[in-house]
Amino acid sequence: MEPSYTLPVRNRSFYWKLFKSTFIISAFTVGGGFVIIPLLKTKYVDEYGWISDTETLNLVAIAQSMPGVVAANAAILLGYRMAGIAGTVVALLATVLPPLITLSVISYFYDLFASNPYIQMILKGMQCGATALIINVAIDLVAKQLRKKLLLPILIILATFAANFFFNVNIMLLILIDGILGLIWMRNAKYN
């Protein structure tokens, strides 16, 4: 553990700083967890010195592997480390409120404009663009799994895809089964 930081004093000014800095980062960062996390780190570690660099990296690794939204997970874990449950609540609120407000406003305008024929043409075009994004992600993910040249992950991909797409098996059930398979047979580091 580096000596260069001390856990923050939990007073009103700390909570306000934590809320304000996290809220601003969440409100203006387009692109999700992988963009937000470095910014949070800059604030918490480099600017305020509330938490160490190593610890942040470890917690972010956990945030990425936990269920849920990576940015919210990071806020929860870092907030907890810096100031316990109260820190978690403050950091999480500051992360969630900006998209909650933005999307409430957007959904209001969406309802207002979505039936306009010109807006519909734009949205239709954008749906094709969004489809391209998800195809791109899918290609990258499949390629990454194939490069490992391991049989088990490929079998899981094929079986899960077929069960989900052709046989409409409940997704949560599939995730549960694959999680158990992983727990039994995939604890070896080569599967990481």
């Binding site: 592997s65 939204v69 978690t88 094929l158």
Partner: protein, 187 residues
């Protein structure tokens, strides 16, 4: 009552979505579009598009959007709080385990099993997106020849643009403008 259902459904999604934003898409689709019909597939793809261009994680955006649609601001809050509730509880447990033992041990195995599962589910969601974009259909179409050619053109160009590392916002803006132009020429 509907708020309790929203909270519960999004809590389940939050608990089972492992692997970041894209991984939540198939789960949200299964619940919000396929089971409860709170949103149409087309609205769902629009949320995805909007999420790529606005601040905030896709999962929270989708929860807010679907919640608003079902029950205004109360619905938005219920869905969003439900969505992060499992992370909140699990996060505190994992943080404690981590500070105590310095590792999260067997959880790594579970994650190794889930990663390929998530790949498969995202592929499934991708196919649903393609069906909607090119055949305007939520299921496999009976007549494959009815493909929307301007949609196919935009999709093809967008894939090329993304593979060439053009930014997401530029690709989506461009495909929106192209959609408008081709729509006007068509009509």
């Amino acid at each position: 009552m509907i708020d309790v259902l929203l909270f519960w459904e999004f809590a389940k999604i939050g608990l089972f979505c492992v692997g970041g934003g894209y991984a939540s898409m198939p789960l949200i689709q299964a619940s919000v579009v396929d089971t409860y019909h709170w949103l149409s597939m087309s609205e769902f793809v629009d949320i995805f598009t909007i999420s790529q261009m606005t601040p905030g994680p896709i999962g929270i955006n989708a929860a807010t959007f679907a919640g608003t649609k079902v029950d205004g601001i109360c619905g938005a809050v219920a869905a969003t709080v439900g969505f992060v509730a499992p992370s909140f509880i699990l996060g505190i447990i994992l943080a404690r385990l981590f500070f105590k033992y310095g590792d999260i041990g067997p959880i790594r195995g579970i994650l190794n099993g889930l990663r390929p599962a998530v790949v498969a589910l995202i592929c499934g969601a991708g196919i649903s997106f393609i069906l909607l974009a090119l055949w305007n259909s939520e299921t496999l179409p009976s007549d494959w020849s009815g493909m929307d050619l301007s949609g196919a053109l935009i999709l093809g160009l967008s894939v090329i643009a993304i593979r060439r590392k053009i930014s997401v916002i530029s690709v989506l803006t461009g495909s929106g403008i192209l959609g408008l132009i081709l729509g006007l020429l068509h009509g």
